[in-house]
Subunit: 324 residues, 3 copies
């Protein structure tokens, strides 16, 4: 992807925050993907650093533990030369009877530019964004949205397939509790993909009327004709385990193995947001096989997060990504 | 406050450490406040960073958890371009049978320039400062002192009222166990304020002879005629809960609400070191009302900590706070 | 030590990783020590920072807690201007059923340049290094190796004695479980030192045929004629406590006190990797006495780690250690 921001014919970024893909237009999504394209090669240089956000302050405010997403944002901020502070809010003294809003107001009083927030409850980033002058980036809120994950998934599809429009994308797993699924559904359908949702009936949302997706409980049907298979993690630590008979049963019915993959298109992309439960939703032969783009998703995640940090920081000009 | 260090007629900073306000002269306190004035606008710039402490190493050595004070020092160090290392010493392997002094000697062997220390025991920062070539900043030691908190309180008063001398300042809450109260008493009285202490008899220090303050157990009396009301946090996690009948009772007798505030001066400042127990020592209507300067305290805290880091680092010249 | 890399007649560094001293040649060890000599004065400057690794990314991936080694690597990376991310893998969500190899592949997907790894199992750094394009530095693997600790020990000896060849070095303590002992044995013997191992029979390795060392169970014999006494930490938290009758007994039989030290050479060096159990393996009078170089070991550790980071980062040219 060699598109640069200069080539982009779309409107400039006008939002203070990135809260979800639900509220973004197709053009806004395209702008993020194109900006990410400009940033991706920064991480391939010998000197992986640009001065774009020098002197800006980013806070990683994580109410749920997350090493991967936190690390990805931390590296993205550092490679943009921003100052970054990590706050593990679940163990933080901020919680000494203080409201989340008080915590955020305190960060704002430090003249923080961007707050990256993960919270176990849906809607918390939105509530905070309304009250705060700082930009807010949703790094996952409950079962609601995880917009940067969906954006990196879309970036990867676009890069590998050259387009998103018209592609068949099947998302397989616990759709009901997945913020990754939700964000991908909003984003992919806006960009013209045809999305199929697949999983056990107990893990499927009750109301799907406005989702504009196809639903199947049969994994073979989800695989057939798909250009992209997006596997979701079965989360031992959450509620799913009471909703499926057993992990072994789940694997038998919905796990992606070599045999099932062979019935799909030869060039189907296999994607997973990580961390993988090898041998549950995904067999190792598939996770490490030629169709898998799982590690490229990680690489692209860094570029997407650099783009989002850059855009919400209100950089109205093309990114200055020459070496500093 | 547009005073710059260049305008200051006082002597230069001569101390290696900042341990407490007890040992500082009025002129030394004024120098810190004036230096903080120079640094405050750095955090209001688009590029919030100056090269003043580039290549210096600061360690946050926290034996008690504290997100706010730790974050404030971390941001202060980063905005001064220092390198900063966080050590949560309560969970650290440094504690494997090692003495605090060995820990500090090890940090010194790394050629650390400044150690910011919080410890649950009074006097630990002083003991360490005597043994260490590195500068030591007390970020709170037991119930003893919390000098940067008092300095930011004084900075805020000075900025809002134009002076400290002659003002009536009432400190309300658990005076006996509060390092914030102690540091404020030493600092405010040195700069000529008249300090009133107010709280339940069980939370008042036994020996107040050399404190040079007025004492009252009646919150209405503390409010009347006060230019500043400084509320202290009732610390659930410490000993106070056994010393007051209940939080509800405390609120009824000493909590600041709109009705009580209305009997004070119209322009009285309401201050709190945070985190606030809303509905205990302070009602939300007051905390978020027009008299409250609580968030400005947070903002000023960053400037004061930048000033203290800068001064103890032995920067004998005026701060170079142009952008780097 | 004023040797600079330019003076060195040895071959350039050709390895991607630093996994242990077992596999290094004497010339490779000398190159690291000489490079460390160049870096040591960086930490003695007023501005303790060089641009050598600007834009490089280092990850501290610690599966065992360690404040000292982690801090030493973190400071080394920062003083080289690298970006550094700390991952405490024992508490990390990376461990959500994910394999270590998946964790490392994810880091690699971030285009991380160097992974500094500590793990409780021997051989993990080697396994990872084979699979990863990133450079891997072993920061301690089980009871196997801790190469940067041995290198800093050798650097200290070289600096204090002017040479390593021909010196008598006695290592005293739990040899069987000590990665520090192993790495020192391989390194010291390669550079021509004569190594004596001393400790209770229960704490001595079973097979010592290829160690090329002398063994004694008598501490007096180990002290006599030694140029260097290297004391090891009795690790309460590991298995040793069941292998020695009591700490008091250990101290009586093997602890280094002033009386025992007096029977050794007057200029014998007393070394310890820290943290010291004062009054167990080492008395305070000795730890803080004139023969002790324990704090210089800490200082030199930073220089050695800067050198290792610099060399594995593939800097084939002499270090640019002018101020940035």
């Amino acid at each position: 992807m060699t598109t640069t921001v200069q080539d982009v014919a779309v409107s400039p970024w006008m939002r203070k925050d990135l809260l979800g893909l639900w509220e973004l237009s197709a053009d806004e999504i395209r702008l993020i993907l194109q900006t990410a394209g400009s940033f991706r090669e920064v991480s391939e240089r010998s000197i992986k650093k640009v001065p774009a956000l020098r002197g800006k302050t980013v806070v990683n405010l994580f109410f749920e533990p997350s090493t991967r997403t936190r690390t990805s944002f931390e590296l993205a901020a550092k490679r943009l030369s921003a100052d970054i502070i990590n706050i593990a809010a679940q163990t933080s003294s901020l919680s000494k009877g203080e409201t989340i809003l008080d915590t955020v107001r305190n960060l704002e009083a430090f003249n923080v530019d961007i707050i990256v927030i993960r919270h176990q409850s849906a809607g918390v980033p939105h509530a905070i964004a309304r009250k705060s002058a700082a930009s807010v980036i949703n790094a996952g809120d409950g079962s609601h949205e995880h917009p940067t994950q969906a954006l990196l998934d879309m970036f990867t599809i676009q890069e590998k397939k050259g387009r998103i429009e018209g592609l068949n994308v099947s998302i397989i797993g616990d759709i009901a509790h997945s913020r990754v699924a939700r964000s991908n559904v909003w984003g992919l359908t806006k960009l013209g993909a045809k999305v199929t949702l697949c999983g056990p009936p107990t893990l499927m949302p009750k109301h799907l009327d406005d989702w504009n997706t196809r639903v199947t409980f049969d994994v073979e049907e989800a695989i057939e004709g798909a250009d992209v298979l997006m596997l979701l993690r079965i989360q031992h630590e959450r509620q799913e385990t009471t909703l499926v008979p057993s992990l072994r049963e789940y694997r038998l019915r919905y796990g992606l193995n070599a045999e099932r993959l062979a019935r799909g298109k030869p060039d189907v992309l296999v994607m997973h947001p990580g961390p993988i439960n090898r041998g549950v939703e995904l067999d190792s032969s598939v996770a490490d096989g030629p169709n898998s783009v799982i590690l490229e998703q990680v690489t692209n995640g860094l570029a997407v997060r650099m783009a989002v940090l850059y855009l919400v920081a209100g950089q109205g000009r093309p990114p200055s990504i020459e070496e500093k």
